[in-house]
Amino acid sequence: MIEVKNLVKTYGDKRAVAGISFKANDGEILGFLGPNGAGKSTTMNILTGYLSSTSGEAYINGHDILEDPIAAKREIGYLPEFPPLYLDMTVKEYLYFVYELRGCRLPRNTHLKEICELVKIDNVYNRRINNLSKGYKQRVGLAQALVGNPNVLILDEPTVGLDPKQIIEIRTLIKKLGKNHTVILSSHILSEVQAVCDRIVVINQGKIVADDTADNLSRELTADHKLIARIDGPKDEVIKLVQTIPGVVSIVADMQRERGVWEYNIEAVEGTDIRRELNRRLMSRNWYILGLRSSELSLEDIFLKLTMGESVNEFLADKADDLEERYKEEE
């Protein structure tokens, strides 16, 4: 379990972390979501004892990281933002080193073999780390965090630099590890934390702006008003037509996907669902929708939504009412 109370970290006069409190329970995967410079890495560096907080407390399984650092560190496996690899070593030598450094007691060869199979680096076991691709280096970094089977895993952007297939593999692995570890992982990709985490803490400029279960947060953050549509029809005319739909703010042709089929980014006023109307109008001209999905909220949208809170919802509700009236008038 990880417990953080009122953590503050200032660099000079800059507040990188401005009073963060949260809790991660056993067997829980906690996602740290925030844009660049939000203070994710700084918080993680404090939790792992690499940095000291300016004020506030952090407990790892009950051990205070400042008062009893060695006991706390024994509980933690840490994958920092830049994997701390000795490039002149082979994977095997490196993991042996970490094994000894952490004073690990498990049977060495079987334990390391298990880890390597888990993160799929057994095929590069005897290669020099310097010669590995970025994705493999990232995995060796992850392997290092697993040495000694620590209870708590702190992973700073664990999927950065991996290809899509590897991303899915690593996410699956983290989910698996989450069953019997406490995991904190950071990311600036909403869909990633949604896919992997049980709970999400959103931070921005060193402050927590949301702390909720992934499901609740996702419900709050779906974006039906931003669509990506693949439409079979003459581009310019489609754009003209869609612009006349009430509620549509903008439509931009993105890319031609097939002959005569374009992909469009359509944005409507928040809170309005234009999907049915879009279908109806295109059908009436014998143009077809070949694909339709809501686009993901960008981080900016999320922060706007979360930080403006109620006021933005009211504002949008008003706007939606206006539009409905306009619909009725037209019909």
């Binding site: 004892g49 690499y50 933690i76 701390p84 690899l85 000795y86 002149d88 450094l101």
Partner: protein
């Protein structure tokens, strides 16, 4: 500490620094030995030892330059500082490793002495004094070099800074001669590594000098630990 020690010794020979040190030491001491002893058929080895000191002034910074600076630059310090070990064992591990490599060189001079002893009587006391003196001086200088290395991420700066610091500590008695205030000059002389070191080269073991170098080593290692500790709070 064991893990750090092993890893460091490996790194010395992986990065060639270990080989460079031993080769340079061997070449330097070999030349000095043949010039000062062999050529004159003399069994007096003090010529070699006094020359050797200046070679070490260059070689020790090379041994210590990457100890801590490189960890910071490669961000591997994040692994070491978040591992369940104390800063003291981290710094000691690195110190002992550097000390071991350093000793390989110093002990090589005993081989020369053995060779000389086949041709005539060797003053073993002087040889022994020089070896002990070099080890003590080296320990203090390695601690100085590590302190400088902990202050920067750049190996070259660490090496040059280390060299400068060691030179100043050595020549502090020369500075003392130009200081008009008597008691300050006295303190400088007392602190001079050169003044403390030279008795060893005659085979004179003064306990206070032994204590001086041991204390200097401990102080500089302590300061290194403090620097690493401070950095967390920055």
């Amino acid at each position: 500490m064991n893990a750090i020690l092993k890893r460091e010794i490996r790194a010395y020979f992986d990065s060639l620094i270990g080989y460079i040190y031993i080769t340079a030491f061997f070449a330097g001491s070999g030349i000095l030995f043949s010039v000062s002893s062999l050529q004159y058929g003399s069994t007096d080895m003090s010529g070699m030892y006094s020359g050797l000191f200046y070679i070490l002034l260059v070689l020790i910074p090379i041994l210590t330059m990457r100890t801590l600076s490189e960890e910071k630059r490669q961000k591997t310090d994040q692994l070491l500082l978040t591992a369940p070990i104390s800063l003291t064992s981290l710094v000691l591990g690195k110190f002992v490793a550097a000390m071991l490599i350093y000793s390989i060189g110093v002990c090589m001079t005993i081989v020369y002495a053995t060779v000389v002893s086949f041709f005539g009587a060797v003053s073993w006391l002087t040889v022994f004094g020089n070896v002990v003196g070099l080890l003590l001086l080296g320990a203090a200088y390695i601690a100085v070099g590590m302190l400088i290395s902990s202050l920067t991420e750049n190996q070259v700066i660490a090496a040059i800074g280390g060299f400068a610091a060691m030179l100043v500590l050595y020549l502090i008695s020369a500075i003392a001669t130009i200081i008009p205030v008597d008691w300050i000059a006295r303190i400088f002389t007392e602190l001079s590594f050169a003044e403390r070191y030279s008795p060893f080269t005659y085979g004179v073991f003064d306990f206070s000098n032994v204590l001086f170098f041991i204390s200097a080593t401990v102080i500089f290692l302590f300061l290194t630990i403090r620097v690493l500790e401070r950095r967390r709070w920055s």
